[in-house]
């Protein structure tokens, strides 16, 4: 090994240590724990093979949580990206007013999800919330959005999109402003209108950023927890219970605090996220190669 190579390894040691201690060790420990019957007290646990995974297959709550997680992700992620693109299109002029709007849209993102969820739960509450009260004043009765099976998931998604789209919008705007002005001029000379220029100049120009947003929001969406815990606690009748919520429920909330089983669900979620991210990356990479 050359001397400068040794030095390079020396320089990456701190980062490597962080990765080992905070990523690899917990990752492999989690896989080990998922093969045990460990509870939260960690007394007298032993290896039970793949029993936890076998139990998962028979646990309807896991499949219900998987379905809810996928439904949430499949709606929230495209909606967030689409809304950001729509607003980007409307604010491509980058005037002072547009800058002000972008700041306003970004504000919810810097707030705590818990605080925002509490705020929305108060606003949307059927019996004591402002929205139901004001609409009732003009003769419109709304259902209990957070306590009715058909509406709860939609409401949670709407709150999540409202909070997060400012972040995506900011990233996409930064990328769009980097697209060369000469490309727009050329397109304009060729007779392209506003929408055509957005579709054929802006979108291809920010494709990598869109992909980045897609992957990061996908991973975040698959791990959704805070807003659901505050807004619905997984209800009504588990209709908004997601995988992370179920992991929390089994491991830390309801006796017998079955950490081994909860960890096996966490390992399953890990592979689910890895698989979906891998598929997305493969698909987009292939598209790029084809083009």
């Amino acid at each position: 090994m050359k001397r400068n190579q040794k030095l390079a390894y020396l320089f990456i040691t701190p980062s490597l240590l962080i990765l080992i201690v905070f990523v690899f060790v917990p990752l492999f420990s989690a896989f080990f724990i998922s093969l045990t019957n460990m509870d939260i007290y960690m007394n007298e646990y032993h290896l039970i093979g793949f029993e936890n995974y076998q139990r998962m297959l028979e646990d309807s709550r896991v499949w219900n949580a998987t379905k809810n997680t996928i439904v949430y992700t499949a709606i929230e992620v495209p909606l967030q990206i689409f809304l950001s693109l729509l607003l980007l299109f409307l604010m491509l002029g980058n005037t002072r007013f547009h800058k002000l709007l972008r700041t306003v849209f970004y504000l919810p993102y810097v707030c705590s999800m818990t605080a925002i969820s509490i705020m929305w739960s108060m606003i949307l509450n059927k019996n004591s919330g402002m929205v139901a009260y004001l609409l009732a004043k003009i003769g419109i009765q709304i259902p209990n959005l957070l306590a009715t099976e058909g509406y709860a998931m939609g409401t949670v998604i709407a709150v999540s999109v409202w909070k997060n789209f400012g972040y995506t919008l900011t990233l996409l705007t930064a990328a769009a402003l980097g697209v060369s002005g000469s490309l727009y001029e050329a397109a304009e000379i060729d007779g392209a209108g506003w929408f055509a220029r957005f579709l054929h100049v802006t979108i291809p120009g920010i494709r990598q950023t869109i992909l980045f947003c897609l992957v990061t929001t996908l991973i975040t969406a698959l791990q959704v927890f805070d807003q659901i815990y505050v807004l619905t606690q997984g209800g009504p009748l588990f209709s908004t219970e997601t995988l992370v919520g179920y992991i929390f429920e089994r491991g830390f909330r309801a006796a017998p605090f079955d950490v081994g089983y909860a960890t096996s669900v966490a390992v399953y979620l890990f592979f689910l996220i890895a698989l979906l991210t891998f598929i997305l990356r493969r698909y987009t990479t292939r598209r790029e190669e084809e083009e």
């Binding site: 040691t13 701190p14 007290y41 007394n43 019996n127 209990n144 209800g235 909330r253």
Partner: protein, 449 residues
């Protein structure tokens, strides 16, 4: 050469910085405790209890000692608890400093076992009595059978049913801190507006139904009773008609019974009559009662303090009786000594627990938080006797019954069986089917299937 040396030094420095960040912080010096304003407000109480506390324990230690406890008193009662602890720290003559760490239930449950097993946990714990069995079986707490002898406190001064909750298999593992049941709250103004006698609370389920119907004025957003979907179990109403959920030892499932079908059908009919808002949440029920939009609802004593501060004209009474009588599930908290406590820590913790059992502290806790009184000498106190709400609460606290307190799977029964069952029943699903499915799930949890 110089460059390589500087590079190596820099990399080493970065690594050292990183590892330093992972190090354990130095033990804090015993903190000055309590705030001036709270201290002054409570000086009298502290003075009253100081002598009793000073007498506690068979040895007086001059060596300063700091002990700590963890609990999940995240509500307004946690503020009162902090004040009482601060008073103790300022007034005790034993050089004992008590530190308090309040966290939410899930955090407490996840941190405590690891902390105790690694010696970084608290000296003692304040937790629900239903956790004593789990903590004991997992070797997290120590027996404290010598507490009464060491402190010289008269055990007979306290209600036996409260004391027994701190025992497991005949051994004492806790010192009671508070005791509570569920109660029926009712709004006297709404009763009067509906033409009912505000001083006559419903005593039976039939009276409850009649009052709920009379008080409901849905057009104006006023409901007779709050039946939240996520309240937990409603076992008090099942018991009232002779039904039940599970035997106290967890070996029998009583859920699928004619008595329970009758009670749940009665509750479903109440919903159909429109006396309760649909899809009501337990937190929402608190808010609606505070806003004068619910005439009645069931809750623990922790709401009394807030209702008093809001000036609500309310009454509190025992859960109404059904055909089999009136019952309410018991609850409470105890002080427990964490594993690893040496003699000095044990002695200091006993002194603080003895302080808690002093008349002044128990009286302050009941007066300020509305928890029922469970000590004879405090019950005889004129100030306590003059407190109408507290007298009613104490009177309504004689119908306590054990609901899965000794079962490891207690919280799972509520979360996985009772709450989904009540959600389905209250939204109008077929009661018999719901009970059958809930019963099957309960069998699964109890290992009876």
């Amino acid at each position: 050469m110089k460059k390589r040396f500087a590079g190596g030094l820099l990399a080493t420095l970065l690594t050292v910085c990183l590892l330093a960040g992972c190090g354990k912080a130095a033990e804090p010096a015993p903190a000055a405790t309590g705030s001036d304003d709270t201290a002054s407000a409570q000086t009298q109480t502290a003075a009253d209890t100081k002598d009793e506390a000073a007498d506690a324990g068979d040895t007086q230690t001059a060596e300063p000692i700091t002990i700590s406890f963890w609990c999940n008193f995240t509500g307004s009662d946690g503020d009162v608890l902090r004040e009482i602890v601060a008073n103790y720290n300022e007034t005790n003559t034993d050089n004992v400093t008590v530190e308090i760490d309040i966290m939410d239930y899930a955090t407490l449950q996840s941190k405590l076992p690891t902390a105790i097993s690694t010696g970084t946990g608290p000296s003692f714990i304040l937790a629900g009595v239903e956790l004593i069995k789990q903590y004991k079986e997992n070797d997290m707490i120590l027996p404290i059978d010598d507490f009464w002898d060491v402190t010289g406190i008269d055990k007979s001064n306290f209600n036996a049913n409260v004391l027994e909750k701190s025992y497991f298999d005949g051994t004492q593992y806790g010192v009671p801190m508070q005791y509570n049941l569920q109660y029926l709250y009712y709004n006297k103004d709404l009763f009067a507006a509906a033409g009912l006698d505000p001083e006559k609370a419903p005593k039976t389920m039939d009276e409850l139904e009649a009052a709920a119907v009379a008080c409901t004025d849905a057009a104006n957003g006023i409901y007779g009773i709050g039946l939240p979907v996520n309240y937990g179990n409603y076992v008090e109403y099942l018991w009232a008609n002779g039904g039940d959920v599970v035997s106290t030892d967890g070996t029998q499932n009583f859920l699928n019974s004619e008595e329970n079908i009758k009670t749940l059908t009665w509750m479903q009919d109440l919903m159909k009559k429109g006396v309760s808002p649909e899809g009501l949440d337990a937190g929402e029920a608190d808010t609606m009662f505070q806003a004068g939009r619910l005439a009645m609802y069931t809750s623990g004593p922790w709401n009394i303090n807030g209702l008093n501060q809001l000036g609500i004209n309310y009454g509190i009474t025992a859960i109404p009786a059904g055909s089999a009588g009136a019952f309410a599930p018991e609850g409470g908290c105890s002080w427990m000594l964490a594993k690893g406590a040496d003699d000095a820590v044990r002695s200091a913790a006993y002194k603080f627990m003895a302080y808690w059992l002093s008349d002044g502290v128990l009286k302050e806790w009941s007066n300020r938080n509305g928890f029922p009184v469970w000590a004879d000498t405090v019950l005889a106190d004129p100030e306590i006797q003059a407190n109408k709400i507290l007298a009613d609460v104490s009177e309504a606290s004689t119908i306590g019954r054990d609901y899965h307190l000794q079962l490891d799977c207690g919280s799972q029964i509520d979360a996985d069986v009772m709450q989904p069952l009540m959600e389905r029943v209250l939204r109008g699903d077929d009661v018999a089917t719901c009970l059958q499915e809930a019963s099957d799930k309960l069998d699964e949890i109890l290992g009876l299937k």
